[in-house]
């Protein structure tokens, strides 16, 4: 399918991100299509997480706007924003689970807030979501009682509690061993295929990028704008920017990779 035929799910338009007079990135424009697994990549300090926070509405753009299914999120009222946010699932870098609640309470919270499920239905749904991430039986555990990788999976279970249309991940495999991180990638891939969600992910783990991403944007720290957009496997071979090819082939010198 060509890009023209696919439905644009998220669109970033001429976005400039700045803290005061310190511009982080300028003139970012790119679409994310429905069903994409979209990766925001770039070297350390280029503003990947900042871009994610702008997409989530945790930070406000200095210029430009972000649209979801054609509606501007940037210019929406706070009620409209909350309604849009309800169709998103977000997992934060360190999980973001509420440490004073058990896993069951963590995952029931969005269900209690935004659905009219009965108590028995909520219990069953929580069990199902935890089973999906391989944590069946861990309902009564607190986040501090389980490992870091399990925390990330539990955070994913909370993110998919409301069957979101968009899933955001901030460095999902940061701090995980290669096997756990691979299992998490597989899980993200299987789940999003099955529930048909669009995924936006910040990461610089090359194995993850090539394993699951089918679209991406590369933010450059020195020019402070995007210098690559497209399937990362294509970018690795055919990007016109040497920096992007270097990043994707992990080489320190542009000459070696040609």
């Amino acid at each position: 399918m060509t890009d023209d035929e696919r439905e644009v799910h998220i669109e970033v338009r001429e976005l400039t991100m700045a803290f005061g007079s310190n511009v982080i990135q300028r003139d970012l424009s790119f679409p994310v299509y429905r069903g994409d697994i979209f990766v925001i990549m770039g070297g350390s300090g280029c503003g990947k997480s900042t871009l994610l926070k702008h997409m989530l509405g945790l930070l406000e753009p200095a210029a430009g706007e972000i649209l979801y299914t054609g509606t501007s999120f940037t210019h929406a009222s706070s009620e409209v924003r909350d309604a849009m946010r309800r169709s998103w699932g977000i997992t934060y870098q360190s999980g973001g689970l509420f440490s004073a609640m058990t896993l069951e309470q963590n995952i029931s919270l969005p269900l209690q807030l935004y659905t009219d499920y009965t108590a028995a239905q909520i219990r069953d749904v929580v069990r199902y979501k935890l089973s999906l991430v391989g944590l069946g039986g861990f309902e009564s555990y607190y986040p501090s009682e389980i490992s870091g990788g399990m925390n990330k999976r539990a955070a994913l279970a909370r993110a998919i509690a409301l069957d979101p249309q968009i899933l955001f991940f901030d460095e999902p495999s940061a701090g995980l061993d290669p096997i756990s991180s691979r299992l998490l990638d597989d899980l993200i891939l299987q789940l999003t295929e099955s529930i048909g969600a669009t995924v936006v992910m910040v990461t610089h783990e090359l194995p993850s990028i090539f394993a699951i991403a089918n679209n991406s944007v590369y933010l450059d720290a020195s020019t402070r704008t995007m210098i690559g957009y497209g399937d990362p496997k294509q970018l690795r071979e055919h990007s016109e920017e040497a920096v992007v090819r270097q990043f994707l082939t992990r080489s320190a010198d542009a000459g070696e990779t040609g």
Partner: protein, 377 residues
């Protein structure tokens, strides 16, 4: 879109040894979607060894169908019934296979006690003794660290000490000013009502001065500082515990008591007596305002108050403020160092710091008063 309400029907065919769970309607609206307990009894009564699904008349569905299916599938598995997912929609089959791929975990450690659990007296006594032992050990650690400090071998950061002095001293001026003026006025009114009955109104000055110097000045300052600084110490150290900073200090080969606790205790020990002197002065001014309202002139009040001041009163007050400073700092730091490693733990530590400090303060104040009463000072 109008679709029939959600429902299910379980048919058993003994000839093929198979039961069929027929699902129909739209499984979207939470109010009309069946719950697992509706089908549980029928599944329990099954006499066959296989379960299959028929979804020909199934409409739209959401997570509610999936949680229902997972409950059915795991219940059947427990009872030794084979589940054939062939009849389910493609997506549902995939999700169910992901959900059942990892067997459910059996909790190893005992589940937390329910909130209505009542502790037995022996259990409560054991907890109290444990708590006492931990407190004594902490106090011992502090003594060892102080010994090291005096010997010049302690790794104490004096840059921190200056910061803590500022936080617990000048930063507290505003609230101490307000409370001490008001306490002075309260003492003044209290005395005025009683003393005027005997025509001894002028002795309000004595009552306010002695009351503040010996008792209310140190105690009120200590209560404010317990709420302000003691809780802050517990929250700081608790957060450091939660973010593994205290572990980092330990693995650097530095005693966290020397590095983190000693500067905090010393800062309070330095600032509390100074704050107490300041509170006493403002309290006497507050009492003077009340005395002025009773028609006692400023000159009368100040000479009467000046005559009431003695080295013994000032000394006892300052001794108390030193003891209180140590107690508040120890209560705050102990709660912080032993805090749980999450946000709820830090909250508990801050509460515990203030409550323990207040109990320590009242007990210490009473003990010192009894002691000096018997000594006749």
């Amino acid at each position: 879109m109008n679709q029939p309400a959600a429902g299910f029907e379980l048919d058993t065919d003994n000839a093929s040894n198979t039961a069929t769970l027929r699902l129909y309607g739209g499984w979207v609206d939470a109010a009309s979607v069946p719950e697992f307990r509706d089908v549980r009894a029928q599944l329990t009564a099954l006499t066959v060894d296989n379960l299959r699904f028929d979804c020909d008349e199934l409409g739209d569905w959401t997570t509610l169908l999936m949680s229902f299916l997972l409950s059915c599938a795991s219940y059947c598995e427990e009872r030794g019934v084979d589940v054939d997912t062939e009849g389910l929609p493609e997506n549902a089959r995939r999700l169910l296979s992901i959900a059942t791929s990892v067997p459910a975990h059996q909790r190893q450690q005992p589940a937390p006690r329910p909130w209505w659990h009542v502790r037995s007296p022996s259990e409560a006594l054991r907890e109290l003794l444990d708590d006492l032992r931990v407190s004594l050990a902490f106090f011992g650690d502090i003594c060892i660290a102080l010994g090291a400090l005096i010997a010049g071998k302690a790794n104490t950061r004096f840059a921190d000490f200056r910061t803590f002095c500022y936080q617990s001293g000048p930063d507290a001026f505003a609230i101490i000013s307000l409370t001490s003026v008001l306490v002075g006025m309260i003492l003044g009114y209290l005395g005025a009502v009683q003393l005027q009955q005997f025509g001894a109104g002028i002795y309000v000055a004595d009552l306010v001065t002695i009351g503040l110097l010996r008792e209310m000045g140190p105690l009120m300052t200590a209560i404010v500082m317990a709420g302000r600084t003691g809780a802050a110490y517990a929250a700081q150290l608790g957060t450091m515990q939660a973010s593994e900073e205290i572990d980092a200090v330990r693995t650097l080969g530095v005693s966290p008591i020397e590095f983190l606790v000693i500067p905090r205790i010393l800062a309070l020990v330095v600032t509390m007596p100074l704050l107490t002197i300041y509170a006493n002065l403002l309290g006497i001014v507050g009492g003077g305002i009340v005395a002025g309202g009773m028609g006692i002139s400023l000159l009368q009040y100040s000479s009467q108050a000046g005559a009431a001041v003695s080295i013994a009163h000032i000394g006892i007050g300052l001794l108390k403020s030193l003891v209180f400073a140590v107690l508040i700092a120890i209560a705050g730091c102990r709660s912080g160092m032993q805090s749980g490693r999450n946000s709820a733990g830090v909250g508990r530590a801050a509460t515990e710091a203030v409550v323990t400090a207040l109990v320590y303060l009242i007990v210490a104040d009473a003990s010192i008063n009894i002691l000096f009463q018997h000594l006749g000072i």
